[in-house]
Subunit: 158 residues, 2 copies
């Protein structure tokens, strides 16, 4: 839990759509997906597990660095609770690409950067990560996080 | 015999396919994707960049922990060269799920475990990671790695 994640203001710039099918509907989908990423960043920076959980599918998988994959809502919730107990994040997300693969599926690649504070010590350090989200549109037409993994882009701490 | 065969097929396909479209073609696709994962593991353990590169799309993205994302074949090649210069891997991959999202797209979630040897020191240590691959079927009908990210599942090294 030493190195971790991300958050707030979304720089919606330079979005590359490689291989995705582009249409008016897809533009609406893209907007909804961007909104989820923005909400996710806000929830992370607020250490708000409930808000995070509303963005995930119930069968979602969270793959945080330094922890085994958390599969399904109960495990995902526990993992975020652990994260937020350990650290406080203050990070911004930059969307690098949104690729809609199918009417109900898309993936999003992002980078995030900012600061992490270790709650136990109050020590604050720079934080930078890369992320890959797989989104699935749910029955109620809401795009939700189906799979999510990140890793630090910083060199190993000495 | 028929029943036995059907049972065998059902057993083999008992992998969680959440939201994916299941068909005979998809079973063929699944087999090809599994073969790529197997080849990838072999290439990693052999520190063979050329072999790795044959498994990636030319527009593929490699997102290794502790490095910025490498975008496109030239950057991906350099990244693997750096990895293989620094470490020697001896790991096995376990496929946790293969989800085919569209005729030409799938994602694969895996875990890998084994050992890593630091080339500079000869020091060997346990290694365990989680991985998320996004696969795209190329024009020549070959499934290739389009996006790939991993992170350690071990706690931070002290």
């Amino acid at each position: 839990m030493k190195t971790l994640m991300q958050s707030a203001i979304i720089a919606v710039t330079g979005v590359a759509l490689s291989g995705g099918v582009v249409s008016a509907q897809n533009e609406a989908d893209r907007g909804q997906i961007e909104a989820v990423i923005e909400s996710y960043a806000t929830a992370l920076n607020a250490s708000d597990t409930d808000k995070v959980m509303r963005l995930y599918r119930t069968d979602g998988v969270f793959m945080p660095q330094h922890s085994p994959s958390s599969i399904g809502a109960e495990a995902v919730r526990k993992a975020y609770d652990r994260v937020f107990k350990a650290i406080k994040l203050d990070v911004d997300f930059k969307i690098e690409e949104i690729v809609q693969i199918a009417p109900n599926w898309a993936f999003v690649r992002t980078n995030s950067a900012g600061f992490v504070t270790i709650n136990a010590t109050g020590k604050k350090a720079p934080e930078a990560n890369q992320e890959l989200f797989i989104f699935q549109k749910s029955d109620n037409n809401m795009w939700k996080i189906a799979r999510y993994i990140f890793s630090t882009t910083n060199p190993p701490r000495q």
